[in-house]
Symmetry: C2
Subunit: 210 residues, 2 copies
């Protein structure tokens, strides 16, 4: 069975998944790299990195994923839609290696990159986008890659089977909030928490079997 | 040296320290007892309770405390200030056993209870209230007992030496937010996190030594 999964999604103690303002120089705004320092310190990211609990979670990002869905603001900085040459932050060989569906109200033709990533641009509801991505995933799972709005929308629509969330002990104060409109969302999930020596806490939300 | 401490202060994943609306029947509003289930399950609260990490934190609430400061909305439900007989939620022998300062814009005469608790009513800034409580604490520490607004105000004023916070994996969606205005508050503290089998995560904020 093909699942819908979220991995390595970091939020501050006050529930922000990114700072502000987002820009080409600072994709996470004033948050800088603080939301993902835990990940960049792991071996999944840096061969000399740590190999403990942070790494155990980090490395679950790729295996078994056949397609990704992301939002327009993860794909590029404000204004990318006016740049016909923009093909993402990640250079010629992006780290997705699957069909990757970018939700946007200004779709454009697909872009085939090196290494198996093809960016498709989609104006569709979460459920429709998921159906399309699922069909492209070759029986594997679909990852909801972010940003914050897209993760929130998929949770709201009840489409998420597994979510790995990382609470970083910082107070961002501003940015985009994850939890708005999600009162009692935990009721649909079995939740586990484990904190790491790095100071972050990994939460897993696994959909309850009915 | 007399410290200013916060203990067992619970917040939801989305940063609420209480639900809404607060009332005599539901002091935490729609949050019910969900923010403090972890605590009520410990031996500190119930002799047949658990004695692990939740209990280790819970039992640090009292030792070494010589006075408490609390807000008007912790002391009573909306409207208590119109009831001249209101003397708190806790019956004749409240669990404070020290001078206890209630911050309110409608102060009234002090009330001496059984077991060492005397309620004093104070209209004062956090710094002034702390000075008053410190003088009454007999060299021991002062606890900031909540609610949410009072904890936030003491953090904002930079008056907190140690804070034990408990992140409960629920999304409340509404109530009173702890973190508003506290951007980057963690920079003044050494922060540790440890999650418990109960599912909550204990965070300690210990003021950095300069
Ligand atoms: N915390 C983490 O772990 C994490 C992970 C990934 C990314 N991020 C960060 O999150 C931020 C981006 O998040 P965000 O909330 O600002 O934006 P986002 O979720 O990336 O994208 C939202 C945008 O996508 C488009 N969109 C979303 N749903 C759509 C639909 N159903 N149909 C058509 N278009 C749709 C809309 O853009 P248009 O209307 O403009 O087309 C919408 O404004 C970035 O800072 C990124 O770095 C954080
Ligand atoms: N999460 C937890 O662990 C925890 C712990 C304790 C309590 N709580 C809950 O928190 C809620 C109460 O929090 P809250 O934020 O609503 O209110 P609160 O912090 O208990 O009290 C705020 C009120 O205290 C008075 N006040 C505060 N500072 C003052 C000052 N400097 N001078 C004079 N008066 C001052 C004002 O009341 P007036 O203007 O009306 O006098 C103000 O509206 C309750 O639901 C309680 O059960 C939660």
């Amino acid at each position: 069975m093909s699942l819908t999964r979220i991995h390595n999604f970091s939020v501050s103690l006050d529930g922000f998944g990114t700072g502000e303002p987002q820009s080409a120089e600072a994709p996470f705004g004033h948050a800088g790299q603080r939301l993902h320092q835990w990940m960049m310190a792991t071996r999944s990211w840096d061969p000399t990195g740590t190999a403990g609990v942070d790494d155990a979670f980090a490395e679950r990002h790729d295996p078994g994923i056949g397609a990704e869905i992301m939002g327009a603001n993860k794909f590029g900085p404000p204004g990318w839609q006016d740049d016909p040459g923009w093909d993402g932050w990640w250079g010629p060989n992006p780290p997705f290696h699957t069909p990757t569906f970018v939700l946007t109200h200004r779709p454009r033709p697909s872009i085939e990159m090196e290494g198996g990533t093809t960016f498709h641009f989609l104006e569709a509801s979460p459920a429709e986008a998921l159906e399309t991505a699922r069909a492209a995933a070759g029986g594997q799972d679909v990852r909801i890659g972010g940003g914050v709005t897209v993760v929130r929308d998929f949770l709201l629509a009840g489409l998420v089977d597994h979510m790995h969330l990382v609470v970083v002990p910082i107070v961002l104060g501003r940015g985009v909030r994850l939890w708005d409109g999600l009162e009692a969302v935990e009721e649909g999930f079995d939740v586990e928490a484990v904190s790491a020596p790095s100071g972050v806490t990994h939460l897993t939300f696994t959909r309850k079997t009915p």
